[in-house]
Subunit: 203 residues, 2 copies
């Protein structure tokens, strides 16, 4: 299950690299935005879609509850946020505890929240990167699954950095989902922040 | 000028890679700890030393003021903190504004303050690194000069990570000092957090 609000380039990477190739099936694409281009990508890949706009529900909890019911009905084992611009409510996190992941365009805990690339440029860092992490109740605070660094050369503008960051997202997000599908990823029993990755096959 | 409180391995890297080789001269080594091994390294390299223990002065400001006078008397153009475990006071920062640098064992702004390596392990990150930055009034908040990432393989213990981090420190701290000595480093005029590095010669 992939949730997306926007163009869906991470969804496309997942569809291209994983969907229907044996280990992973994308059983649905959900969105809060009826016009999200991600939904068109899903349709083109013959993946079921559903839309849960905030203004059609009394509150965020009601929306997330309906969305959770739909996700459960698809038999999804993992919920991958991919440019999903809504905070998920605590009840949603609780229902899929340890089975919701997100990709964030920074090396967390640096630059959580919105516009991480802009934050990194503003702060003047020379290295940033991408983090795939489990989602918990906080904003980009959950346990880290994979991180990859991206150096910022002196002469880069924002566009060049965005391109590089997105390329890394499109590489490591499918990689992380594949590892989870193969059962290679678990949270350490006595250290809830520590994710143990034991690669068995593949890359 | 190098200030150190401990074993002085970063001082040694600076002495070995830069001192007396044309571009950089270490004109003194100061410490807050009379027994710091860094002082012995300085003596062995025939570099003048001075010690400013906190308990020989009325307060931190008085200590830093005496230390600043001594530094100025040596003709030092740059003050490099190297395992110097005291916060420098605002008056010290003001006297050497833009001429004090520090090396920190994390990719700032992640994990500022004490035991950055322990913080990174506790947080469960998969990538950390080293930052060389200008010192301002905050704790590890000044503008970033160089950063380098260090991946944390799944099977590493703390010792292995420390060894890798320190190896990177011993590489990029002398590198940064060399770049500053050659005039390749400046803070952008309109963006006080942005450090522009224009390498002219060398590595």
């Amino acid at each position: 299950m992939v949730l997306a609000s926007g163009g869906g380039t991470n969804l496309q990477a997942i569809l291209d690299q994983l969907h229907g190739q044996g280990e992973v099936e994308v059983v649905g694409v959900g969105s809060d935005k009826p016009g999200a281009y991600a939904l068109e990508r899903a349709v083109a890949a013959k993946v079921p879609t559903a839309v849960f706009p905030r203004d059609e529900f009394d509150d965020r909890e009601a929306r997330d509850s309906a969305m959770a019911d739909w996700i459960q009905s698809t038999g999804a084992e993992l919920v991958a946020l991919a440019g999903y611009m809504q905070l998920v409510s605590p009840l949603f996190v609780e229902r899929f505890r340890g089975r919701i992941i997100n990709v964030h365009p920074a090396l967390l805990p640096s630059f959580p929240g919105l516009d991480a690339i802009g934050q990194a440029l503003e702060h003047g860092v020379k290295v940033t990167g991408v983090t795939v992490h489990f989602v918990d109740e906080g904003t980009d605070t959950g346990p880290v699954i994979i991180q990859r660094a991206v150096e910022i050369p002196a002469n880069w503008d924002r566009d060049e950095l965005e391109t590089a960051i997105h390329a890394v997202e499109h590489q490591i997000y499918p990689e992380a989902i594949g590892m989870i599908a193969r059962g290679e990823v678990r949270i350490a029993e006595d250290e809830p922040r520590k994710v143990i990755v034991e690669q068995r096959f593949g890359k």
